[in-house]
Symmetry: C2
Subunit: 240 residues, 2 copies
Amino acid sequence: MKEARKPNINTTPIELMPSFQFALSVDCVIFGYDQDVLKVLLIESDLPAYKGQWSLLGDLVRPNEDLDDASYRVLRERTGLTGMFLEQVKTFGAVSRHPAGRVITTAYLALVNVRDHQLKTLDNALHWHAVSDIKTMAFDHQIILNTCVAALQRKIQEEPIIFNLLEEKFSLRDLQQLFEQILGVAFDRRNFRKKLFTTGLLKDEKEMEKMVRHRPGKLYSFDRKAYEQIKRKSFVGLQF
Amino acid sequence: MKEARKPNINTTPIELMPSFQFALSVDCVIFGYDQDVLKVLLIESDLPAYKGQWSLLGDLVRPNEDLDDASYRVLRERTGLTGMFLEQVKTFGAVSRHPAGRVITTAYLALVNVRDHQLKTLDNALHWHAVSDIKTMAFDHQIILNTCVAALQRKIQEEPIIFNLLEEKFSLRDLQQLFEQILGVAFDRRNFRKKLFTTGLLKDEKEMEKMVRHRPGKLYSFDRKAYEQIKRKSFVGLQF
DNA sequence: ACAAAAGTGTTGCTGGTACACCCATGT
DNA sequence: ACATGGGTGTACCAGCAACACTTTTGT
């Protein structure tokens, strides 16, 4: 039985293709680390269907805007930040995910330093929430958040992106607590230090913590140059 | 300086939002393993702009179709297969990526057994290509392919999905060669065996290769039940 | 008999884990 | 002086890498 030739977006002139009303958006999962807690930046939804619930920061993609640019614009407009870590995670395209129509959204993971940004808090009803406190969200945003938390857990073990969440200079305790927050496990302090030192990614800033009510710890920073060199020699292992 | 409140897809009724002509598609990167070579299934483009070049198999997403369903439909229509491994990888949304207009596409990674499927080869100008032979493709499909190859390399080391590319029963040589093809490295045979046996994921089928002109090897299959049990106890490590 | 690939063990090294005591600072 | 967390070393164990010879089958 011979099947009719199937249409193909890549071989059929687009004028011949059926078209209909799609909306395309980006949603940013913006993580920050504040007072030893992993947080995410949310906005209160004022759509009737989700009155009082929290949602991610998003916006429609503009006609002449790349997808990545759209997410960057949302970040910049909302937090005043530029140059933050920002990476696509996944696209959510269930037919009924938005009550007002067919909206496909691409989720982005952003890591920001909560001290740097200037929130338009009054204007926007933006708030930082502890990730572990969030139980329900508008739309399918709880699923998107969970997906991005999982992506974050995986990615901090593959690339040294975790430093984007910390101040320029940080103590090893800061770093360890942040790892523990994100991964939900505890590490032995001595082994953690050894492991991090042997990565060669920490630069000793020759400074100490100040204003702490205990013995002050040394401060370190992420050694970008060392990282660039290490990357060149990296090798891919086999693991199940 | 007070900024005006920004629009937000999640807080603004959709009727008020600007809309314009988007097209949304899925493209499938279909990998197969044939005659000891990693291959990808492509179709010849007949768009004038890309005459004679190869492109991925894709189609527009339908108004009432989930994104994942669209990719599954493409696979089913083209290969006659059902139940194959299929997973979203990334969405490509550059403004000018399609010459006919604004087309955002979501790339899916598919792993199929080349023996199982029934290609509509004559109808569709479909061909298997060695991944390493492909130098240029239509649209941004070369980038999409490279992204999916990298995703495949990463994922076969995280989850035992590689078995989707093999026959139900396979020899350890088949498995090792496939790993080597995908990762582009060579492994010591003895160490490879030990490693794979200690995963506990191989079931001894108590059968031998046949019709080989050397000593026949034992055949194994992927032990799904064992894998399900192992997954429950799995633990997340720390690694840079 | 020859060609081709299967099957098999040991050793050394590296990296992870478990674990306890003294030190510097603020109150 | 006390509370808090900083800073350090060692011993054991597991997993990885390197490495060579014998066995089975087809021709």
